[in-house]
């Protein structure tokens, strides 16, 4: 009894209560289909959790895929397709946010971070440098001598174990 009930339940569940979205129909032109696929990966399914329409099983993702394919078949460029999607759904739909006043920090932040960290590390190295006076040329030469003579005498394993 329980088994029969489960199977009945499963039949309902597996066949999906909501009507399944229309299956994807690839464009006949292989080059156009490849462009469409590339776009799918960068366009967000608007009702999903951080999923591209390429991945999402949601009905609206299927609708969006169909829309993209239709526009490409109609001869629109990738940029035009994106513009049209943004007009319908807003910037939210693009996984690559547009560069505009509100997103400058986002786009140039990484470079700024790189420069800021470089400055911090440089400042740290410099501050340390002040503590110890630099060697005079004479001392440098003596040091080089000592190092050179040590290099010769060194046990072959000393370098390896010095890591």
């Amino acid at each position: 009894m329980k088994r029969a009930l489960l199977i009945a339940l499963a039949a309902v569940g597996l066949m999906a209560a909501e009507p399944p979205p229309a299956p994807d129909r690839p464009l006949p032109d292989a080059a156009q289909e490849a462009r469409a696929k590339a776009l799918f990966a960068d366009i967000r399914c608007v009702v999903c959790q951080h999923e591209a329409i390429a991945d999402s099983p949601a009905g609206i993702a299927a609708d969006m895929r169909r829309l993209v394919r239709e526009e490409i078949a109609a001869g629109r460029t990738d940029a035009q397709v994106r513009e049209d999607l943004v007009r319908r759904y807003g910037d939210f739909v693009l996984f690559k946010p547009p560069v505009r006043a509100g997103t400058w920090l986002l786009w140039f932040g990484p470079l700024a971070a790189l420069l800021a960290v470089a400055a911090a590390l440089l400042a740290m190295a410099r501050r340390r440098g002040e503590g110890t006076p630099a060697l005079s040329p004479d001392e440098e030469a003596r040091l080089a001598d000592i190092l050179a003579s040590q290099e010769d005498r060194r046990d072959p394993d000393a370098k390896a174990s010095d890591d």
């Binding site: 569940g13 951080h50 991945d55 996984f95 509100g102």
Partner: protein
């Protein structure tokens, strides 16, 4: 009854952590070894108490005690035992207990550590106790997993079926051990800022204490993240393994900060330099762990991985994060100008290379932080909604890491203090030449030809070959007899092998990630039984579909034959759609055919009809070339971390060279 014991143990742990902090503070101020010993005892007792609480929680799940609200919400009698037990850490409340368990157990290990100086150890134990107080209080007062239900339901609501998977059963414990392991680095950093010794011998010793914790946490986190990525790969059925999803990023930020930390700790240990910077990274790594916990549990982010938790508890977690990180960084701002490390160093040297590593890793970490939080900040500030996804990170994060990878192989070959760039160039010339050949071969071998992907293949090859060049150099391969090389290889310290493996593993990962991302082939079709879907070199035939009854689900199981198009061995895989009546959810079980380094990845979709009205199923097939390397690489890296950890010189108490050098 036993459940009340668990609830009691959790409260007891909170009290013990508070005592641990209080006695540590008092012991530090009075310089009393007795009080310090008592604080250490409290740390061990707190760990035992949380272990009891966690054990009770697991028991409640194992026996399906639905009078416990958490069990009723997350378990079901029909679930296999593994997932009943794993459900103990599958929910917000349970995973928080696991978090506290790791926190207190590491605190206990810290309390048992020998040969830390009195002040440093007692301050670290006190800080760890404070962290325990905050997180245990959060667990006890807002997220108690032992709350009862009256009346108790007859059946539980079951764990999200997506989470009923072996990789995911073990992924959180690994991840948490890594996340929370950084808490010890955090406590040691706070202790160092409090003790703030000016003498030159302090920092090398401190670096030697921090490094094993950073290494262990980073290795565990590597494994945890990789298991999570593998889970996403074969459980979600999207053919991908990393989506730059906010929750994935949340686990990646502590990993990046931790990677920077374990490199800069080497400089502090060996040269006494970068003391302030290493301290900063130690604070940062655990701050990112806490930030991750907040992002995942507060509901501010939408993600497939997030816990559904109310914003109120999110605010509490934000307060914990704010208090902890705020206090620590304020202390850092106050004390760090007084930190004095060792002497100066030249830009071209091992330490110089490690500083470059830190530069790129922290900039990359900041990029991930920016990409993760920016949509939240922008929406709060202007109401505009944007999405930051893979294309953003491909343009920002990837170039930063690519430059870092170009420099990487030179680092281990440079000598400390004064490196010889020309010498390093000569030693790496062969590896560089071979890497260019690898890039050319990649360009020729894969269709369609892509210059950037070929460059990526060359970069992966460069990392692997550059690491091998380091070994060749150290054992004087081909420049001396094979017997002598073997002898040298044997006497090479484990730490060196660890470095080589970690870097080579990174190269293996890069190879897999570049090839899989650049050349994967996807195909989808609605097919009836007997028809085929073709993806690249492989064709997949649907042989039949049957209904199979699992322990707590029913599934539509498709048998599919994967064969090479130009003939060759055919193999049968099964792909399923599972329906879980308890939660009314459906999951996909991907059929994976391992072909050498490649995966043929088969997803059975929904049932439909052919044009003629016969039953048909939508089948998606991916040919993911070299996908094996994506998951193999990080395991090699983690293994390298473990090898370094086993190095005799890193073991606490065995350090021969005293800090005076």
């Amino acid at each position: 009854m036993i459940v009340e014991l668990g609830a009691f143990a959790l409260v007891l742990a909170l009290v013990l952590s508070a005592l641990q902090t209080a006695m540590a503070v008092a012991g530090r101020m009075r310089r009393s070894p007795v009080l310090a010993g008592a604080a250490e005892g409290a740390a061990i007792a707190a760990a035992l108490a949380v272990a009891v609480a966690f054990g009770v929680l697991i028991l409640a799940f194992a026996v399906s005690d639905f009078s416990v609200a958490n069990v009723a919400a997350n378990s079901h009698t029909d679930k296999p035992m593994l997932y009943k037990v794993a459900a103990a850490w599958g929910s917000h409340e349970g995973s928080l207990v696991l978090w506290c368990l790791v926190l207190t157990v590491f605190g206990a290990v810290l309390a048992r550590a020998r040969n830390l100086s009195f002040g440093l150890k007692i301050s670290a134990v006190g800080t760890q106790g404070m962290l325990g107080v905050l997180f245990l209080a959060f667990a006890v007062f807002t997220s108690n997993p032992f709350e009862r239900l009256n009346p108790a339901p007859f059946q539980g609501a079951s764990l999200n079926p997506l989470l009923q998977d072996p990789a995911l059963a073990f992924h959180p414990p690994m991840l948490y051990a890594g996340y929370v392991g950084f808490s010890v680095c955090f406590s040691l950093a706070v202790a160092a800022l409090i003790e703030g010794r000016a003498n030159a011998s302090f920092w090398p010793a401190w670096g030697r204490w921090v490094r094993p914790w950073a290494l262990a946490s980073w290795s565990l986190l590597t494994v945890g993240i990789t298991m999570g990525a593998f889970w996403a790969y074969y459980e979600l059925g999207w053919g991908g393994w990393w989506f730059w999803d906010p929750v994935e990023n949340a686990s990646f930020m502590p990993w990046l900060a931790g990677a920077a930390l374990l490199h800069s700790a080497v400089v502090t240990e060996r040269r006494g330099a970068l003391a302030g910077w290493t301290t900063f990274l130690a604070l940062l790594a655990f701050t990112f762990s806490m930030l991750g916990a907040f992002l995942v549990r507060s509901g501010v982010l939408t993600s497939v991985h997030a816990f559904a938790v109310d914003p109120e508890r999110g605010m509490m977690l934000l307060a914990v994060l704010g208090v902890t990180a705020g206090a620590a960084f304020a202390l850092f701002a106050w004390r760090s100008p007084q930190l004095r490390g060792g002497g100066q160093f030249a830009p071209v040297s091992r330490e110089g290379a490690l500083v470059l590593n830190n530069l790129f890793l922290t900039a990359a970490c900041a990029t991930v932080l920016l990409g993760t939080l920016y949509p939240l900040i922008l929406e709060a500030a202007s109401g505009a909604t944007i999405s930051v996804g893979p294309p953003y990170f491909a343009l920002t994060f990837v170039p930063l890491m690519a430059v870092a990878f170009l420099i990487l192989p030179a680092g281990p070959l440079l000598a400390w203090k004064r490196g010889d760039l020309k010498g390093v160039g000569q030693r790496l010339a062969v590896a560089a030449g071979l890497a260019i050949l690898v890039a050319l071969a990649g360009w020729m071998a894969f269709e369609p030809r892509k210059a950037l992907s070929a460059a990526g293949i060359g970069l992966g090859g460069w990392l692997v070959l550059g690491s091998l060049a380091e070994v060749a150099e150290r054992i004087r391969l081909f420049r001396t007899g094979p017997a002598e090389s073997l002898r040298r290889a044997r006497s090479l310290p484990l730490g060196s092998w660890g470095t080589v493996l970690a870097h080579a593993g990174l190269g293996v990962f890069v190879l897999g990630a570049v090839v899989e991302t650049g050349y994967r082939v996807e195909a989808a079709r609605t097919v009836a039984v007997g028809e085929t879907v073709t993806a690249g070199r492989y064709s997949v035939r649907l042989d039949g579909v049957r209904i199979v009854e699992g322990p707590n689900y029913l599934s539509e199981r498709g048998d599919l034959t994967v064969s090479l198009r130009d003939g060759g061995a055919a193999r049968v895989v099964t792909a399923e759609r599972r329906f879980f009546p308890a939660g009314g959810q459906t999951t996909t079980e991907v059929g994976l055919d391992f072909r050498g380094l490649d995966d043929v990845y088969v997803v059975l979709g929904e049932r439909g009809q052919t044009a003629a009205g016969a039953p048909a199923w939508s089948v998606r097939v991916w040919w993911n070339p070299w996908a094996r390397l994506i998951f193999l690489g990080p395991f090699i890296m983690a293994f390298g971390g473990v090898l370094s950890l086993l190095d005799r010189r890193l073991r606490l108490g065995l350090g021969k060279r005293k800090a005076a050098t």
